[in-house]
């Protein structure tokens, strides 16, 4: 089922080459990726708004999982198949499970409300600032628009090509990231040691 979904949302590369040569009749078929992109895009936006606005921690976590899966769908449309799989496995899978474990520790009830400033001035300034940031980003995006055809190689975004990149050109970075993950694990264990645990260790060692 996932494979058929892939074939729906990411145009086959042979179709891309045909379109670039000037196939003028394919209006509906050439819009498939754009429609799929915006379907996933609107779902991701809905999920993002829901994530930041839920009062319950469990609801926010699950909405974030939904948003991350929609983002994986977006990656699929953009010819990043390996990355879409990694997003679902690592981000929506491992990282969000970690979040849910900590939500279990902290407790599912959110005891504080979403706090907006009482006075009007901070509110207005905040909204204006956010609007300026997003508007700058959107303006830069629109300036960068081009009408290039969607020409990608047959093996663009596959496991083989990304793997070749990781293990040949960026091998050092790859190994460094694995060391980084080890450091993160050690740091997480260290930070969560309780005071009694440290005392027991000291007593044992001496």
């Amino acid at each position: 089922m996932a494979l058929s979904l892939c074939m729906f949302v990411s145009p086959s590369h042979a179709t891309d080459l045909r379109l670039s040569v000037g196939d003028a009749s394919g209006a509906a078929s050439s819009n498939g990726p754009l429609v799929a992109f915006w379907v996933f895009g609107v779902l991701a936006l809905v999920g993002a708004v829901a994530t930041i606005s839920r009062r319950s921690l469990v609801s926010a976590s699950l909405w974030l999982v939904f948003t991350l899966i929609c983002t994986a769908g977006l990656y699929l449309v953009l010819h990043a198949t390996f990355l879409a799989a990694m997003q679902v496995l690592v981000y929506a899978g491992a990282v969000m499970v970690l979040f849910l474990f900590v939500v279990m520790i902290v407790g599912p009830e959110e005891r504080t409300r979403i706090r907006f400033p009482r006075d009007a001035l901070p509110k207005v300034l905040g909204i204006v600032a956010l609007g300026v940031i997003v508007e700058r980003l959107i303006r830069a995006a629109v300036i960068a628009r081009t009408t290039q055809p969607d020409l990608v190689a047959d093996n663009f975004g596959t496991v083989r090509s990304v793997g070749k990149l990781l293990f040949q050109d960026y091998l050092f970075a790859f190994e460094a990231v694995s060391v980084l993950l080890l450091v993160a694990i050690v740091a997480a264990v260290m930070v969560t040691r309780s005071a009694t645990e440290i005392e027991t260790r000291k007593a044992e060692d001496s």
Binding site: G41, I52, A184
Partner: protein
């Protein structure tokens, strides 16, 4: 065929929503989730450009961003657990011992 500026606009709005979540919400876990949202928006931008330039290196960078986000989430969540253990709350407004 998805025009690149569509990708960039969507990523910009997602980034803005994540930023809104970080600034407005007072619960540390929601703040961490909003940070993950921002990282995803950045990843979307990177992949959009990688597709526009037919450059596979962008996807390698995005993969490293995912790995780093996982490491950062692990350490951030450990800090949340440690904070909860001492203060019994994950509200950032209540973590103000260093404030004068």
């Amino acid at each position: 065929m998805v025009p690149t500026h569509h990708v960039l606009v969507l990523a910009a709005v997602l980034f803005g929503l994540g930023l809104l979540g970080v600034v407005v919400r007072r619960n540390l876990l929601i703040i961490l989730m909003s940070i993950e949202l921002m990282l995803n928006a950045v990843n979307l931008t990177i992949i959009g450009f990688a597709r526009a330039r037919s450059d596979i290196e962008g996807q390698g960078l995005a993969l490293f961003v995912i790995a780093l986000a996982a490491a950062e989430a692990a350490v951030g969540l450990a800090i949340v657990v440690a904070l909860f253990r001492t203060r019994r709350s994950v509200n950032v407004d209540e973590a103000n011992l260093l404030r004068r």
